[in-house]
Amino acid sequence: IWTILPAIILILIALPSLRILYLTDEINDPSFTIKSIGHQWYWTYEYTDYGGLIFNSYMLPPLFLEPGDLRLLDVDNRVVLPVEAPVRMMITSQDVLHSWTVPSLGLKTDAIPGRLNQTTFTATRPGVYYGQCSEICGANHSFMPIVLELIPLKIFEMGPVFTL
């Protein structure tokens, strides 16, 4: 009786908890989708909802840094997103395991080759958010950061502006 009764109680706790866990994944209704593909040792981002924009995001080597840049964190091409818009990130990998992380937004999703993982978020403050690859992936695992740049929707709608 001391085994069965606690087991029943635990099941009664666990089942609603699991339900809630899966429900929290559903409510988002994202405005658009971005794909993030991990490579050794950079990220590729694809904005394919309204036209095709695909680019790579490499860490800035220390020699290329301007004074005031964050060493090991700044990248050449940031992921630009609008604030207050629910975004769906589809994350996968081309070769080995990586993990797409932006701690300030509470995001961490593993990039697994052969699998599409999804994470959704809505950022409320504009700014630049940094993260680093969180799954050991080889020699330059510490040197493939992720940078999100959140801008007002009006500016985002103007379209991509490439700077050299």
Binding site: P62, L65, P67, G68, D69, L70, R71, S104, G127
Partner: protein, 169 residues
């Protein structure tokens, strides 16, 4: 068998700890550690054997006297009997030693030696710190982070007073 005969020819002293020799190899050999021994230990207060094995004549006489009433023994005789039985008293066996000074001194010496190694490493082995550790760079970096309002709720930007343009007191 042949070996024991050879040894008894060579020397008069038999191999005393080998019980098997005395018992003509019909008994398992007992090692030194299984024979009763005397120990001075707090947790083994009554050792299996007495400290003094072979009593001198006066000690034998004392042992005979011990068989009579103990109130007839003088203080010195009682102490003598104690010393026959035991090597150290509890006070003696529990005495502190100055070993800790050696240990602490040795540890500090090696720590100091490690410090010397580290100093040598810093000077001759390690490369220079990256540029981003320069004071000006860190200042520009911090200014940039404050402009970006990094972690404005509880983190860095929350510690900066934007009105007065200084760190919050």
């Amino acid at each position: 068998m042949l070996a024991t005969r050879v040894f008894s020819l060579v020397g008069k002293r038999a191999i005393s700890t080998s019980v098997c020799v005395r018992a003509h190899e019909s008994v398992v050999k007992s090692e030194d550690f299984s024979l009763s021994a005397y120990v001075d230990r707090r947790d083994h207060p009554l050792p299996e054997v007495a400290h003094v094995k072979h009593l001198s004549a006066s000690q034998k006489a004392l042992k005979e006297k011990e068989k009579a009433s103990w109130s007839s023994l003088s203080m010195d005789e009682k102490v003598e009997l104690y010393r026959i039985k035991f090597k150290e008293s509890f006070a003696e066996m529990n005495r502190g030693s100055n070993e800790w000074k050696t240990v602490v001194g040795g540890a500090m010496f090696f720590i100091g030696f490690t410090a010397l190694i580290i100093m040598w490493q810093k000077r001759h082995v390690y490369g220079p710190l990256p540029q981003s550790f320069d004071k000006e760079w860190v200042a520009k970096q911090t200014k940039r982070m404050l402009d970006m309002k990094v972690n404005p709720i509880q983190g860095l930007a929350s510690k900066w007073d934007y009105e007065k343009n200084e760190w919050k007191k």
